[in-house]
């Protein structure tokens, strides 16, 4: 040890040169500068942006991750002079602010500062790369939602027929919220809204909107629908709406979610899974009012339909009654006609039969008369026979007379009165 001390002259130790830290740092700086002559492209994820508005400088922490494991990390610098230009171009092309979690491709030089150490000096960022990564991320989100079977879940809900109680996720001071409210106020319907204030864009949006949606979900039975309204702010900061966390929450929400979050040409995943994606807050209010109008129109239509069919039924029944009345008239007339005919026929029969009866009897009487006439003794007398009577009694046997009796002999046209002198009874013929 003493030997070593002895050799220590502040310049060397054990015959070897002692360097100051700045010597080493400068040496390293020179090595790095020799090795990294040119700028180069590097892809990485911004784990934390570290933007300082006061100075305008930005010191992003860059990482490369495999799943959640950090494979590499490095500090970076974007000087205020570059940052404004880079940010403007990035926002213009991607519609998104440079923010934590963003994957970037940047043009950088390797920089080593003796006092601050190693860092990448970012001179430019390629927005198209981030755009592609965001699109990939968006596709992954969509794929995950579909794999979980929840992509269409919110669309499959039934909207209340008369949506009059609306939970609004927005900011009370935003123009969009004001537009939404003014449309509702101007309508003739009483739509009740309840504001759940949230950050609607940028880094905090996902957490803030999610928290409010969870609050609404806890008392969802009081509402008919949820609207998410973002007013102003252009197309920037919409990437929050592509996050799986927010999109999944909207997709599985127990109420229909209606979005009115902006004018973007690219529809966000949250809008894709929402029950209805209206573009502007005005459209969102109109969508709700259309539902209310549709319900009321439908009521009117139903009322008209009921009235139409009821009146038609009455009309049909009235016609049926007319027909039945006509039928009754015809049938009655026919029946009465038949009855009259039958009565007339009966009268004819009676007349005919009565006359026949009278004629028959008359004829019988005539016949009897003829018969009686034929039996009159006058007809016998006319043929030369006579009738002998004594004291008005017809004499049929000789024993009925005695000599001296006065008898009447009736001829056909005369009566002879004579006295009996003698009665001679011829001898009886012997039977052969």
């Amino acid at each position: 040890m003493a030997e070593r001390f002895l050799n220590m002259d502040g310049v060397t130790y054990n015959n070897r040169k002692i360097y100051s830290l700045s010597d080493v740092a400068h040496s390293l700086k020179s090595v790095i500068e020799q090795a990294y002559v040119q700028d180069f492209y590097v892809k990485a994820e911004i784990s934390k942006l570290n933007y300082y508005p006061h100075s305008g400088h930005c010191y992003p922490d860059l990482v490369e991750k495999v799943d959640t494991t950090v494979k590499a990390q490095m500090r970076a610098t974007i000087w205020a002079g570059d940052y404004g230009r880079i940010r403007t171009k990035f926002v213009e092309i991607t519609g998104t602010e440079l923010s934590d979690g963003l994957k970037i491709l940047c043009l950088a030089t390797m920089n080593f500062h003796p006092a601050y150490g190693l860092s990448l000096h970012i001179r430019d960022i390629v927005p198209e790369y981030s755009l592609g990564e965001m699109a990939k991320q968006k596709q992954l989100t969509i794929q995950r939602l579909k794999e979980k079977g929840i992509y269409d879940a919110n669309k499959q809900l039934s909207m209340a027929l008369l949506p009059l109680c609306i939970a609004v996720v927005s900011v009370s001071t935003s123009k969009g919220y004001e537009d939404f409210q003014s449309i509702l106020r101007a309508s003739k319907h009483q739509v009740h809204t309840f504001l759940f204030p949230a950050l609607l864009q940028g880094d905090g949006a996902v957490i803030s909107i999610s928290a409010q949606l969870k609050r609404i979900a806890a008392m969802y039975e009081h509402f008919d629908a949820v609207v998410i309204i973002r007013g102003g702010g252009g197309d920037v900061g919409l990437s929050a709406y592509d996050s799986y966390q927010l999109a999944a929450l909207v997709a599985t929400f127990p109420l229909p979610v209606i979005t009115g979050i902006g004018h973007s040409t690219n529809v966000t995943v949250t809008e894709m899974v929402a029950f209805h994606a209206a573009i502007t807050p005005t459209d969102t209010a109109n969508f709700i009012l259309e539902k209310v109008d549709a319900f009321i129109d439908n009521l009117h239509r139903i009322r008209e339909t009921i009235s139409f069919y009821a009146l038609r039924k009455v009309d049909i029944e009235r016609q049926r009654m007319q027909t039945i009345a006509q039928y009754i008239k015809t049938v009655t007339a026919t029946k009465i006609h038949t009855c009259r005919y039958q009565l007339s026929a009966s009268l004819q029969s009676i007349r005919h039969l009565s006359l026949r009866k009278i004629n028959n009897d008359r004829h019988y009487l005539a016949l009897t008369n003829e018969k009686i006439k034929l039996l009159d003794p006058i007809h016998i007398l006319r043929r030369g026979y006579s009738l002998t009577l004594c004291n008005g009694k017809i004499i049929k046997k000789p024993e009925e007379l005695k000599s001296g009796d006065t008898i009447e002999t009736q001829l056909s046209h005369a009566v002879i009165h004579s006295t009996v002198n003698k009665i001679k009874v011829p001898a009886k013929k012997l039977k052969s």
Partner: protein
């Protein structure tokens, strides 16, 4: 009690049948015929009344509609 059309018509038919069968003697012929005419009158009155009533009712239905 006044006879119904059916009762009157039925009795009338009995008289006609009796005449057809020559069950009626001359003594009761006149009485039968008088009865028959009375029955025919009853029937005719009933028919006329029914006709009037039906026409009035049908007219009522038609006017209601």
């Amino acid at each position: 009690m006044k006879k119904t059309y059916t009762e009157a018509y039925s009795e009338l038919q009995d008289i006609v049948q009796s005449l057809e069968n020559e069950d009626t003697d001359i003594d009761s012929l006149s009485t039968s015929i008088q009865r028959a005419i009375a029955l025919i009158n009853i029937c005719n009155e009933k028919l006329a009344l029914t006709e009037q009533e039906v026409q009035a009712l049908v007219k009522q239905i038609e006017e209601q509609n």
